[in-house]
Symmetry: C5
Subunit: 354 residues, 5 copies
């Protein structure tokens, strides 16, 4: 829960644009990497200070500056000043509990996405905010922690194969978004496996742990949904063609990511439906077991209560009880008891309890 | 579950348009059949290599190229090059877990549909992706497995009867879509029968297997819904008349398919409603049975406990128990017991437990 | 269930416009009646062959041709040819499982409605497809069975009272639609009575048959809803004034039918809400009864188990049991038992179980 | 239920505009009151015959004619003729089961509202149809029964204070609508109190009557909702400014009523949410009680069954039972029994059943 | 409940614009504070009488008049007269049960918001109405009680740092709205903690108090939702740019608040989803406990009933019972009993009840 909303309140009353980092400090020192490329040349560099980036501001090619770790606020401040970003953009980059959104500031687009990753240990899904700023010939990407998620794109730029070097900053932004959405499919597969496993368990032998897992899964899906649903609007907005920063050629690719997003949302909804069905199954299997427990109890009680009563009768100490004196009294009682038991068993058979 | 999302993740990080086949290999060797026709002439041919198709590119009539089996990626690559299809289209043809969609690439339309089939053995519904590419005078159809689903259309082309030979490629595409949607009705009928059967079973004697079947049916409907819902938008888009590739004359037919799609969706929703009603019925019947089990137990216990107690009383070994000495003690105890039993039975009668 | 989707699948693969009758044969021989009228004159006639109708094609007045019974396909074929109806219209008239819809073919409108009737015997609602074709000066109506539902309209035409003779074909179509929608109110009243009756039964003495009735009602409402919801759109479309075949003067009447349709839909939704509430009540009443059964059992067991135990104690055969020798042992045990029973009864009183 | 749909069916087949009163006869003789005013003068009169009203038709001021009691159809007929109202309007005034609606007939607006009143005796909400016809300088109001609901408006007209005398007929219509909507708040308060009371009862001691009340409340809310929801659209339509009969100055007031309507709807939805929550609470409290009943039973049975068994053992009459001969046998059995009981109690303590 | 709708009904029938204060009197004497500032100068003053404010009406800078406490109606009357506010605005300021809304009166905007605060004692959320009137160069704020919520904004104005002194009245209004929305995050955090705590409790040991808390939380969320949902529309309307009173420069900030509102709504929906999941968990844990109680009972009964029966058999007093005479009869009975118990235990083991 905490990851959802912690820390927001401490900002109440501050002037808008006040830069405060909300969220855990996930990287030791912020790591700044710069890539500058066009179709012909290509340059890659890890810089120490943010000032080194400023040199790339006016290069003709596409400049991609990636920043891992957000807790050094002065980096953002300097960047913001140099590139003229709106204070609210910088503030939002630091508030790492944003829902996905896209904002058009005319000269640049600010895009917030959520990167999902599956922690195998706790079998929980973690989300991390990734901010992108897309300008005419630059892309900034901001991540909370140190990850290599963008490595495949870096590799494609380095190798110079494919379309990426021939196209502009908008295509680079697309490539990054595509990578993030592709990661969602991995999460979906993990969840799909868990659900498959649960479905089998439900049929074979549901325990109260099964219920716990169903509940946890449901909870994860609530959070996933919250992270993915707004993405639809974000990418839909990018692809719709009202933004001058997104060129026609890239839009067809964004439509592809849009489709993927809808597929992920679809899958989440399907999972939700399935899980709610599983809860029903679990509850009815609990009812069924209660039923069968009660049947066992009832059968035992219904058979032995009359028998015990009869035994009690002839355990009485009345002086004048003629049956007690009879030669065949004892065997006859046994016969009576067996007849009663058989009758009861037949009755249960008829009622389909046996 | 696996069919839903398997394999997508292995594509993460690849350049868009990278051709990787996702899904099982359902056909041994891909089978390519070509039909070329206009009102006057007609030609049909099964080709070995994809290059043979290229000859048909500039024929004046309508060319229909059907490809069964998608795992030989080079076929698609060559086709794409020859006809100038966008790499994303080729990629989507191979990703056989798409939801139905329609994309307008100007020169051609790319349409994804899902073919449903009912496996009698497992009583499960299987879906298979069918991709159509509709150009000004050609239609490509791509299927995963080797099926004869399109045979009725082939037959109509061969016979030359009906409208099909007189009309263009858009009408051919319509005919193929119509065929696929008509197959949905078959699935609906199968499901309808199962539901009918279940409803009867529920009334006569619900078992925990009934619940399993209800659950499975619900699950199938979740998947069906996912496959059919987007179709509405797809065919709606084709029929709305903003696409130049769809001629006026064909639109009236597409409106008809649109109606069928809505009818299928309607039926799915009705089935969902009915199944959720059935679950309620099942659960209340379980509760009712529990109730009746408990009543039997309670009646037995309530009658025999007091009797056994009385028998216990006169089984005590006190020296001074006047009743034990009485001449009519034993019969009087019997009378007492019978009176108590009758009283109890009347009480249960009044409570409507008997 | 069968009425929903039976028979559709046998059409798969046929050329569109192929005329096949789907549904039961409800009338022996199709009955064709023609009415031709304007403000001044009026003619009514039952014709034997469809060709006789053709004479009315060019009369200046309004021609209403009503056909009961659809299984003689040639009648439709000839009509279609003579009046130039689209093959899909004829096909839809025969597919008697359509949802209500309205299609504009320029020269004429094709309207599908569903006539509801309540079978008192089975207390089930049956639906029948009624197709209307509205042209500039003619109305065709097609019914599956032989009914007199349209008789009030016929009577109004014959008598020449009211507006009907003064107005055009669109008003006649309105009058027929109005009649069908008015019939819905009858169904609503029947259902309303059943619900009222059920509500009382639920309070006084719910049985498992009550549940069956609730379930059946729910099922009926699912089908009703399916039949009535699309009507809203159909009549809304007719009344909105984009159709040249509907004159301004008639639109105000169609708005009135539209209101009625919404009222019917409203009522259906209200009924659904009420029935789902009734299910809740039923389930809680089952739980309550289980509770009261368990309380009886528990009270009996809790009182008699300790008493029987005490009796058992003094039924033991130990040589040295001082109590057994006491003069007042037996009465004292009785006192003890009564004290225990009273104590238990007080406890249950306090717990409000008595 | 009856109030919902009774009587509609008897109109099926009649010509539209046929005047039949649907609903109970709520007033003995219809009462017609006329008010005619402008800023300077004011006249009020109770008329005997409807013809007396016609004199006011062409007065320069605003004429308000209020009619209580609708069963004398000829009054409506004469009014309709004199003022030229559409027959469908007159029909709708008499069909007192309409949902709120607003219809624009060009020269006048026809508005249907539902007046709610709370019957303290039966604690049921009753609705009554109020029809308004708003013309350029007149307002007609039709009520089913004889009520004084409009008295505050009459008082304001008489006193001449406030805005009402200075403004036109549209403001008068607003004032009447406002009064009706203000009455809804009273109903909301009554319901709010009932819910508050129920919530307390649920926590302290829920009985099966609580359930009945919850159910009844739910039912009332279903009907309330049906009466209030369409109002939103009605008043929204009046206030939106497309109607020439509503002047700019009055629209700001209608926006205010619109807000109130939304507030009422909001409250209804909140109540619905709360009531559905209460049902959950009730059901879990029933489950909890069942649980505690079962615990008592189980504790008693689990303690006394072993003890009774032991007593039974030493009640056996075997010749050779060494224990029976022991000097301390009897006390030792007591010790054994006490140990077993304590052990059981500890076990239940651990399980938190005590 | 009372806070929702109390007092509204007492206004029924009054002329619109009649000023009546609805709500509790939360402040002793109304407190009026005035701030007047522009970039260069700044003035702050607490005034005694409302007339003192009028002097600020025509100052060139931004005037902010804050009024705490609404029960002195004459203050509002005088303000309304001086500034020309519409009577309905004044009425709405006093009706402190409004839902958030924004109304454009041309010269000024009237905005209603709800301030939330968390009462730690009762762990309940309280809402208070805050009204804003935004004119070209003034802002009025009206609060019910005496609070210091706006202090951070006052501080920012005093210090002259940040943007606030440089911008107009619209920015001031934004700053106040922002403050109120930021407070929502605090409430969300409190609720988040409660939910987190509940989730743990549910897993470890759910009691019926847990259920009470879940229910209360659900209830709070219903009210929260009602207070926050309309805010979306309000701020959306302010930010959309159709209002001339909101300058372009401020709109980017309003978009930020809009995002926050959506985030709050999102969180509320997530909480609702989680709580409904918790109720399911609670109910199944109750079922599970019932199951385990029943198992204990059944095991005990099933083991001891047969044993007691056997003991009963040999407690009978028949003259001729050969077993009683046997030398090893008593030990053999013990062996028999132990065998039966073991068999039962194995049976339960197999059934997984142990």
């Amino acid at each position: 829960m905490s990851k959802l909303i912690k820390g927001r309140s401490k900002k109440a009353g501050f002037s808008p644009g006040t830069l405060i980092h909300i969220g855990e400090k996930k990287a030791e020192t912020p790591k700044i990497t710069v890539m500058d490329y066009d179709e012909a040349h290509f340059q890659e560099k890890e810089v120490k200070t943010v000032e080194e980036c400023f040199a790339f501001k006016d290069t003709p090619g596409v400049t991609w500056i990636n920043i891992d770790g957000l807790h050094q606020i002065e980096i953002l401040e300097k960047l913001g000043e140099c590139y003229g970003f709106h204070p609210l953009v910088l503030e939002d980059i630091l508030n790492t509990d944003q829902r996905p959104k896209m904002e058009d500031y005319g000269d640049y687009l600010y895009i917030v996405l959520r990167m999902l990753s599956y922690k195998d240990k706790s079998s929980q899904i973690e989300t991390e905010q990734v901010s992108l700023i897309l300008g005419p010939n630059f892309v900034f990407s901001f991540q909370e922690g140190e990850r290599d998620v963008f490595d495949p794109v870096r590799e494609r730029i380095r190798s110079g194969k494919g379309r990426i070097r021939k196209m502009g900053a908008d295509y680079l932004a697309y490539a990054l978004i595509d990578l993030i959405v592709d990661h969602y499919f991995m999460i979906m597969e993990k969840l799909g496996e868990t659900i498959e496993f649960l479905e089998e368990e439900l049929v074979t032998q549901p325990t109260s742990e099964t219920l716990q897992t169903i509940h946890q899964l449901k909870r994860e899906l609530i959070f996933l949904r919250k992270a993915v649903w707004p993405l639809r609007e974000v990418i839909g907005g990018l692809q719709r063609g009202e933004l001058t920063l997104i060129k026609e050629a890239s839009r067809i690719y964004l439509r592809d990511v849009y489709d993927h997003t809808i597929q992920v949302i679809d899958t989440i909804e399907t999972f939700r439906d399935m899980i709610s069905g599983m809860l029903d199954i679990y509850l009815s299997s609990v009812s069924n077991r209660l039923n069968s427990v009660m049947k066992v109890l009832t059968i035992i009680a219904t058979i032995f209560m009359p028998l015990t009563f009869i035994a009690g009768i002839y355990g009485m100490n009345f002086k004048f009880m003629p049956e007690l004196e009879w030669r065949w009294g004892y065997p006859m009682v046994w016969v009576l008891m067996i007849v009663i038991s058989l009758f009861m068993l037949l009755y249960f058979k008829k009622k389909r309890w046996l």
